[in-house]
Subunit: 138 residues, 2 copies
DNA sequence: GTAATGTCTCTAGTGACTAGAGGTTCAAGA
DNA sequence: TCTTGAACCTCTAGTCACTAGAGACATTAC
């Protein structure tokens, strides 16, 4: 059994974040010492690692809730889990696509001004003011 | 002179968002009718278009504040503007990089399970539980 | 025994909006 | 001129996933 600080060190999840996950129902309510401090065991460590890994991959708290629910019932169909992962993948792909468009446009705009003139002549500011100076939709 | 609803239609920025921008100081306080309703002119339309364009490109409210400040002083050096644009570009590139890593990992994980088994055997859930099943850092 | 560190709960703040309540003003038609 | 209905006003609270801070209590090391 170890403290919340120790759990934090091992998982690299900050202490207030651990308490937050407990409040959100991602972590079960922890056991307590006589002085009311939380104590964790290996199961707690594994669950928090799971959460942290899923968060790192961009899953929402809600999605992680569903994934944990499934993990706790190994006999259920895992269709929901693969659905969640697939839609997360699609979201990531959509974000990449959008960011790539932004990147091209920002890169073009940035190159238009070396920052050595005055703002009245600045191509960056002019581009933002007038959408027609843009190459593509964004 | 036209109403906030008309401005909203022309810029495709929602009415409450326009009021929010005013509160944040991005838009100057609008003129009012005797009945206290906001009225805008061409200058207001142009400024809001500028803001919307910058937001679409991912600039923060704070960054836009600085850009507007420069726009209002055409005689100042535009170095700050190019700096802001460049760092926005770098941020976008960093995000893309991270998302690409996530995409690869999520794609690999998703392919590991067709969703037809039970969750006890699900590769998606197993991968999340055990970081060692991952190909790379993320 | 004492001091330092860790932990507790609670409230409020972040960014960029969005939603809703409850009330007022405007523009158009009768 | 009157009425109706849409648009507008302010204010508060909610979103997401935390983060910061206050003030009090617990634990650990010496």
């Amino acid at each position: 059994m170890f403290s919340i600080g120790e759990l934090s060190k091992r998982t690299k999840v900050k202490v207030p974040t651990i308490r937050y996950y407990e409040e959100m129902g991602l972590l079960p309510e922890a056991e307590r010492t006589s002085g009311n401090q939380r104590r964790y065991n290996k199961a707690g460590l594994e669950r928090l690692s799971f959460i942290r890994h899923a968060r790192d991959l961009g899953f929402s708290i809600e999605a992680i809730s569903s994934l944990i629910e499934l993990q706790d019932h190994p006999d259920r169909s895992c269709e929901a889990a693969t659905d969640i992962a697939t839609s997360q993948l699609e979201e990531v792909r959509a974000k990449i696509k959008r960011l790539r468009t932004l990147e091209k446009e920002l890169s073009r705009i940035s190159k238009g001004c070396d920052g050595e003139g005055v703002s009245g002549d600045c191509y960056v500011l002019a581009s933002l003011a007038d959408h027609n100076l843009c190459d593509r939709e964004h």
